[in-house]
Symmetry: C2
Subunit: 196 residues, 2 copies
């Protein structure tokens, strides 16, 4: 991630350092302006690079956010995954996907860190709120043609489970086998998707 221990190579397009500087600039801009008002142009200006370079590295504002926050998943992946099989198994696919990602300590650290900050920092909460709504929930709800509030109820269930499993660590849920949790939770998520 950082260039510590290496010789700093200067601002060369394509160097690891430039990428890192763009991400640092992105974190600053997202925190200051929120997700909605941040722009790739503004991030590029802050980093002292051409906007094309930000596009080159991170494709979109959403991709820049995901990389800047070190999130283990891109919303696009979530949509692709959900649509990649029968609709009646979407609940199970989503629960399995989320539990698999957070089962990796390294992948879940940035997510938990962001959640922690969000709980205590109004600015970060605003940024996450906008990203969640614009990039994740509204897009998934639209792709699946379900009311956003049902997607949010599903998100609340899985968010709560991640907190109970990894932050509060309530037993027996904290040590439960992933398959047991999938069996328990998939019908809940499926019902929100089905709209029944």
């Amino acid at each position: 991630m950082t260039t510590t221990g290496r010789r700093r190579p200067g601002r060369r397009p394509g160097s690891a350092d430039t990428r890192g500087e763009i991400l640092a600039a992105a974190r600053k801009i997202f925190a200051e302006k929120g997700y909605d008002k941040a722009t790739i142009r503004g991030i590029a200006r802050e980093a002292g690079v051409d906007p094309a370079l930000v596009h080159h590295y991170f494709t979109s504002k959403e991709g820049t956010f995901v990389a800047a926050m070190e999130l283990p998943v891109n919303p696009e992946e979530v949509v692709r995954l959900l649509l990649s099989g029968p609709r009646e198994e979407m609940g199970e696919r989503l629960v399995r996907f989320i539990l698999t990602i957070v089962s990796d300590a390294q992948a879940r650290q940035p997510v938990l860190a962001l959640m922690r900050t969000a709980m205590t920092n109004e600015q970060v909460v605003g940024m996450i709120r906008e990203f969640m709504i614009q990039a994740l929930l509204l897009r998934v709800a639209e792709s699946l043609k379900i009311p956003p509030i049902r997607m949010e109820a599903a998100f609340a269930q899985m968010f709560g489970v991640v907190l109970v499993r990894y932050v509060i660590q309530l037993e027996p849920l904290a040590s439960a086998d992933a398959e047991e949790l999938i069996e328990l939770l998939a019908p809940t998520i499926q019902r929100y998707i089905d709209g029944s």
Copy 2:
């Protein structure tokens, strides 16, 4: 709550000040020892009062914890409420009860404050974990004769909803009518209770 603005009446049993001193001692002891290892005797010693006085004010260790953390509900109330009507309407009763409590800004502040601290403080997390398991989840699960993990899944759903509604404030869920949320969430909780 405090005696600010009044003349401090000294350590008289039954005075508002004694009650406050017991609660301050309780917060200290619960934080230091966790919920399981804290005792009424230890709290009384810390406050410099007779254990009988702690019992007099707060009935039990659980009651002392609820008062010390200014929680708006006692686990006993939750159990009573759940058992106070037909089993097939428990999901709705629980969702309605929780949404009603947290709809009051003053009642939800201490809960959110505790959750916030829990997210960042290992000691507080330990204390909450033990209280949740011993005083709330295991007791409810036992009363309803359902596996604790199902109670924890229900708790995760409602915890997530409270966070999404009041902390992250994702729309449309944040502004949704309570009745709409009850309709959306009650079947989820009912299913966890039914074990289907």
